[in-house]
Structure formats: C-alpha cells, structure tokens
C-alpha cells in the first residue's frame, strides 16, 4: 500500500494513524478532519473542562513523542469515497488517491427539531460546543437537561456543582435502561435527586419556548419548566452520509466484521461511526465508547495491512473484548462492561444501592455477561478481566 487515508481526526483516527506506523506502514499517510483542531479528548468536555478545572490545551491527545509523519488536512470535509477510482473526495473537489481508507468520522449530537434557533439551547459533542455552553453555566441560572443519558447526567452534575438550578427530563420511564437495564438504571439515575437535581421521567418534550433566547421547556403533559439554558442530550448519529454513494454497507453506522473490515476491500471503519459484528448479540453493534475507539483501530489496521487475502469469514477472529465505558457523575465513578441486553438478572455482589457504592453482576442464566460499578474500581477491574477472559475463551 502506498497511501492510506484516515478520515476523521479524533480519538479513533489518531489511534489508527499511530497503529499504521507502529505496524510498519511506511507509505503516505493522510489524515482528514473537518474540525480545525488537532485531535482532542471529548470525555472531559462534560466533566473537568466544563467545570473549569482544566483548560483546552490539556485535552490534546497527541504527545511529544508522536512522530506520525502524516499529511494532516484539518478543517477539510470528506464528501465522498469513490470506490472505482479509489479516491477520497474533499469538499472543494480535491481527490486523494488511497490504497487503504480508515473511516473514523465518529458521530454528532442529535438535536431537537423543536428547538428552532433559540439562543441558550446547546448540544455537547465538540470543543466549540463546550466553549459555548460553558460561558452560560453561571451560578443561579436555571438549566434544563433534555435526556438523562450519560452526557446529560454529566452535564447536570457539573452544572449543579457550579451552582445552577438543574432539572433533567427523560422521555423513558427509567433513565439509562438501555445501557444498564431498568433496575440499575434507576439506581444510577437516583444520583440526581441525591444531589438536589430534579428528575422528570416518562414525559417527552413538546416544545421549547422563548423569544430570541430560550425561556422554558414545555413538556408533553403541559408542564412548563422555566429555563435560561437548555442542553439537549438525546444521543448521537453516526457521521456516515458522506459514504452514501460509496458502496460501503451502512446500517446503524458503517457495518463491519469483527476486524473492522467494511463491505469494500481496503476500507475499514473504527470508533463511534462503526458497527462491528458482535457475536454475543449475533448482529452488528455500534459502540460509542472511548475505550473501543482507542483499542479497535489496531485490530482494524492489522486487517487492512494484511490485505484482501486475510480471508476468513466475517465473524472470525478480531476483537473479542467486551465493550467498556465509564462516566463520572457527582462524586461517583460509574463503570460498566459487557451487554446489559444479554442478561436476565442482575445482583449486587458488593456494597448497596443506598450507599451508591456497589458492584453489580449481570447474568444470563448462571453466566456473568456484564458488570456495573459505582465507586468500586478495584473490584470492577477484576470482573472486567474475568468477563473478557470468558469472552475470548
């Protein structure tokens, strides 16, 4: 391979570029990113950065030892992948001939159709989003967070600590029921009320009201929640539109086998935009967690460099690790590994729901399939290892 182009210059793109060099690729390496910034870390955007504890410079993902000798195209949008010519097409028309392509375009925050263009309504995905939100998080302001997922939960927790009056609204009856299951979703989202943040569940948003600036959130049951600032945290959509005509198979993200190979030879996908085949669920599964975006590029790059005759069936080999993520809310570190959807029971093995310090194990029959911890990092680490060992056996 002479040229490999990495599209998306964030966590997964950077780790793909590093993996290419580490695995001996010495050809031309092009990295395309539509944001003007060098790769930066997103998790602190809802935590320490939003809280004002750290500055933007410490979000840099690259270190002093990075010597990728890559051709960085920052502020450039990839608009298409031309499979016949094997070219990545940039806005403006430039075409980059590429023998290999790593798709790492991530995801973008979903917005609320109802929000119109009122000022004071935010999503949180990028550094620019975080800057814009941060200046509005002033003590005493009324914040309504729409969506009690992890990002919504973290924003609520950070804003509360900054002295805002915070309400979280969630359309589902139990927050986090998807990732954590109903039982543990209720325990983790109980943190809001513990800390004086109001949580309204099972009611959707009808409209955002205000003139110029947002003034309130009207719920489906007619309640009007006054608001000076609104954060919409209702999930993310994979950035795959640019591949629509490419012939790469798309579903909920770029569909890949267990090594990150897409339906087009020479094209792999990693990170939040990618839906790798998940044997435990028997289908492609898009994972939107930091650790997967960091670890999987090495697997995908290896399969890319091995070339088309690395053969084997689409479900062979590859990444057998179970997905892992963490979230920091209030003073609690939440860690989860596995798939809650596989489980038919969950038991607290250590600590208790009331103390907000616990280790819970999810099982299907007798077999552990996932683990959740609240402030139990050591025990969680052991469980995660065991689950991974069982998964690769």
């Amino acid at each position: 391979m002479k040229t490999v182009t990495v599209v998306g210059a964030s966590l997964a793109g950077l780790y793909a570029a590093r993996a290419l060099r580490e695995q001996g690729f010495d050809g031309r390496l092009v990295v395309i990113g539509d944001e003007p910034h060098r790769p930066y870390d997103r998790p602190p955007l809802s935590k320490d950065f939003l809280a004002g504890k750290i500055e933007a410079d410490v979000l840099a993902l690259e270190g002093p030892d990075d010597s990728l000798e890559a051709d960085w195209r920052l502020g450039s949008v990839a608009t298409a992948l031309d499979r016949t010519a094997r070219e990545v097409v940039l806005a403006g028309g430039e075409r980059i001939a590429s023998d290999g392509v790593v798709v790492a375009t991530g995801a973008r925050a979903r917005s609320l159709a109802e929000s119109g263009d009122l000022a004071g309504v935010h999503v949180l995905r990028t550094l620019d989003d975080a800057h814009a939100l941060k200046v509005e998080l002033v003590p005493g302001a009324r914040l309504v967070v729409i969506g009690a997922g992890f990002i919504g939960g973290e924003v609520a927790s950070t804003a509360k600590a900054l002295g805002l009056d915070v309400t979280v609204v969630e359309a589902m009856p139990t927050p986090l029921a998807g990732p954590l299951g109903v039982e543990m979703g209720a325990v983790v989202s109980g943190l809001h009320e513990d800390h004086g943040v109001r949580l309204r569940c099972g009611v959707g948003v009808r409209s955002l009201v205000g003139r110029g600036n947002v003034e309130g959130v009207e719920l489906a049951d007619g309640t009007l929640l006054p608001a000076d600032v609104v954060v919409v945290g209702i999930g993310a959509t994979p950035n795959t539109e640019w591949l629509a005509q490419s012939g790469v198979q798309l579903g909920n993200g770029v569909e890949c086998d267990r090594q990150g190979r897409t339906s087009l030879p020479g094209v792999v996908a990693v990170g939040d935009c990618a839906s790798w085949h998940e044997p435990r669920l028997g289908r492609p599964h898009r994972v939107e967690h930091w650790t997967g975006a960091m670890e999987r590029p090495a697997v995908a790059v290896a399969s890319l460099l091995r070339g088309p005759d690395s053969g084997s069936s689409p479900t062979d080999g590859g990444d057998s690790k179970i997905p892992y993520f963490w979230s920091d809310q209030y003073d609690v570190r939440i860690q989860f590994a596995g798939h809650a959807a596989q489980a038919d029971s969950v038991t607290i093995e250590e600590g208790s729901a009331e103390s907000r310090s616990l280790l819970a194990v999810y099982r299907r029959g007798d077999v552990p399939v996932a683990a959740l911890a609240m402030n139990q990092a050591r025990l969680f680490g052991r469980w995660r290892r065991q689950l991974n060992a069982a998964a690769s056996a």
Binding site: D41, P44, D48, K53, I54, E55, V58, L61, G63, P64, D65, W290, T291, M294, W326, D331, R333, Q335, A377, R378, F380, G381, R382, R385
Partner: protein, 116 residues
C-alpha cells in the same frame, strides 16, 4: 519515611493506597518485590492502587495506561507522563516508603490537597 504496614499484611499480588499528600500506592509483586509510586494516574484522576498488577507493571483501572513500577515509565497510553516512584525500605518486617523529592506528575485538574 512513611510507615506503611507489616510485610505480612500485603501479600504478593496485592496493593494498597497510603493516604499521604499526594497519596501513594504500594505494590507487592508476584515475584516478591515491594514497590511504591504515586497513587494518582498521570492521565486523569484514578487510583493506581485499584489497578491491575501484572509482573512489574500496573494497569490503570480507568483507561488502561500501563506504568512500570520500578521506573514509573509509561508502557501503554493514553498517559503521556511517567508516574513518580518512591523508594521502599523494609525494616523489622515493616514496609516504609521514603518519599521522593521530585515533583509529582499529577494529572491536570488535580492539585495537592484537592482530593478527598
């Protein structure tokens, strides 16, 4: 010197956190070595004593950075800075830590005294 505990209280494969400023993590490796480093990961705020000990390396429980316990060197990212190491002295079957006088590499956002 900080008195940690009797050697017999820290079995091979185990680690413990000492509440100093900043906190210290003490490890007893499977090979019988006792080693001490700053407890706080240099990447973000996580306790390395809660990490996974393998050989003479610890893996951070939050994002998996690996640090060499003898040298403090980063063996796997995302951490970029080494962790400070401390000398360990065994006297009368007790573990003592001689605090390093180098500057600690605390993660951004964590300062001395900021942790509860």
């Amino acid at each position: 010197m900080i008195r940690v505990c009797p050697v017999s209280a820290l079995s091979p494969g185990e680690s413990l956190r000492v509440d100093a400023e900043p906190p210290i993590a003490v490890f007893h490796t499977e090979d019988g070595e006792i080693l001490a480093i700053d407890d706080t990961c240099t990447h973000q705020d996580a306790s390395l004593a809660d990490g996974w000990l393998e050989g003479c390396e610890v893996e951070c429980p939050l994002h998996g950075s690996r640090f060499n316990l003898r040298t403090g060197r980063v063996d796997a990212p995302p951490a970029k800075k080494p962790v400070r190491t401390h000398d360990v002295v065994i006297e009368d079957d007790h573990i003592y830590v001689e605090l390093s006088d180098e500057e600690p590499n605390l993660p951004p956002g964590v300062t001395l005294g900021s942790r509860s």
